[in-house]
Amino acid sequence: MWSSGLDKHSNKKKNSNNNSSCGHGGSSRIVSSSSSSRSSPSSTSSILPQTPRRRNMEEVWKDINLTTLHHERPLASLLEQHSHPHHHHHHHRAMILQDFLSGPCSTVAPADAAVEDIPLPPPPPLLPPTALSLSSGLELQCLGGGGGRCGCARITGHSGSSSNSNGSRVNCQAINSSSNNNNVHGGPFMSPSFSDAVIGPPSPAGLFSFCSRKRMMPDVPVIGGDRRHKRMIKNRESAARSRARKQAYTTELELEVAHLVEENAKLKKQLEELRLAMAAQLPNRIALKRSSSAPF
């Protein structure tokens, strides 16, 4: 489930696998935004107004989409979550991951009904759609401090940290299983620093990058502007046509190869038969024949 957000291919494949554990079967989504937009400090600076806990998935996704990296959910709310041990039965869903990644780690207000009792972190301020960009990195900022219950990792997008993400993935799972009873929230998206943060103050040491989200969730209405959406759709269609073209050509070549091989075999066989036939006849021709040539 950790990996579901990391790249779109694994996203698709793993989403269905993650259903059981994550509870959220929809396509996970990582909001990617330019790393330049990240400027706020790691500690919670603002307490955002609370929103009603029960939000449907669309709203949460919208939040994720519109939230940039800046947004930080106050750790306080996360703490609240931690303070309620009974919360912890909620599933760590991919959405949690996405929430986490898209905003402050307090997050996660999963839209899942199972987590209803967890107070929803205040929604991120609506950022202009242009803040969303299909840049190659995703930068997240986790809230730090707060008693060290929640590790925050500053996740900056850069290409070199993919190994980090893998490592963090492993960490996550390990942490997830071990921390379940620790009421550590946000297990799946822990970074290496998170594990430290569990113990002590969060450090921005954990860095991992995510593949850029190049695909919007199907159920989210146009986000980021109609033009971009349309362009994306057109691009997809073009890509699909390209694939179809390639596939058609390959298929045709395969058919032709099969046909030619068959024809070749047939012709060879024919050739052999003809040779045999000729060989059978040949002795007759070579046979000496007497013909009369004497004048008398």
Binding site: A244, Q247, A248, Y249, T251, E252, L255
Partner: protein, 179 residues
């Protein structure tokens, strides 16, 4: 099991309905046979190809149509299909030069994107008069076949073609923006 290239390339769907191939078709540009789904340059297809219809019975007549379903561009096929060539009364065992060229061959000159150019072959029941449509664009092969009772196609093949020197991609138009 690999599927028919005509289906994969969406020729069946965009231009034709699914059909059963009951005739064979060979398209030769410059004496080279075109493989289904291959790509040709506009310079290679300037002149009409030689379309051979192998068979046995010279009495069977065929109608051949060549259309471009991706006009003006594959992402925006508002002029689907553009009729490039229409030849009727082609006797089996011969080739297109023996038929009636109802609509003269127009060289493919795609400006945007990679276009498919589809050859469709219909079997004629009788020698019939087929009238040229008023214009080449927005030709509809299905309707055409229905209009002249040609029935389902008996053979089809297609090739791809794009601008000679590339950049069939997005370019900026003052009016329509980036397309």
């Amino acid at each position: 099991m690999s599927r028919d290239p005509l289906v994969v390339g969406r020729v069946v769907g965009d231009v034709l309905d699914p059909f059963i191939r009951s005739a064979s078709l060979r398209v030769l540009y410059n004496n080279r046979e075109v493989t289904n789904g291959s790509e040709l340059k506009p310079s290679a297809v300037v002149h009409e190809p030689r379309v051979e219809i192998p068979g046995r019975d010279m009495r069977t007549l065929y109608t051949l149509a060549m259309v471009d379903p991706d006009a003006p561009s594959p992402s925006n096929p508002t002029k689907r299909e553009h009729l490039h060539w229409l030849v009727t009364d082609i006797p089996e065992t011969t080739n297109s030069s023996f038929g009636n060229e109802i609509v003269p061959y127009e060289s493919p000159r795609p400006t945007a994107g990679i276009h498919r150019f589809v050859f469709v072959l219909f079997r004629q029941e009788v020698r019939q008069t087929i009238y040229a449509p008023g214009w080449r664009q927005n030709f509809n092969t299905r309707d055409f076949a229905a209009l002249y009772n040609l029935g389902p196609p008996v053979a089809a093949m297609y090739f791809n073609c794009q601008r000679e020197n590339g950049c069939g991609g997005r370019r900026y138009h003052a009016v329509s923006g980036w397309t």
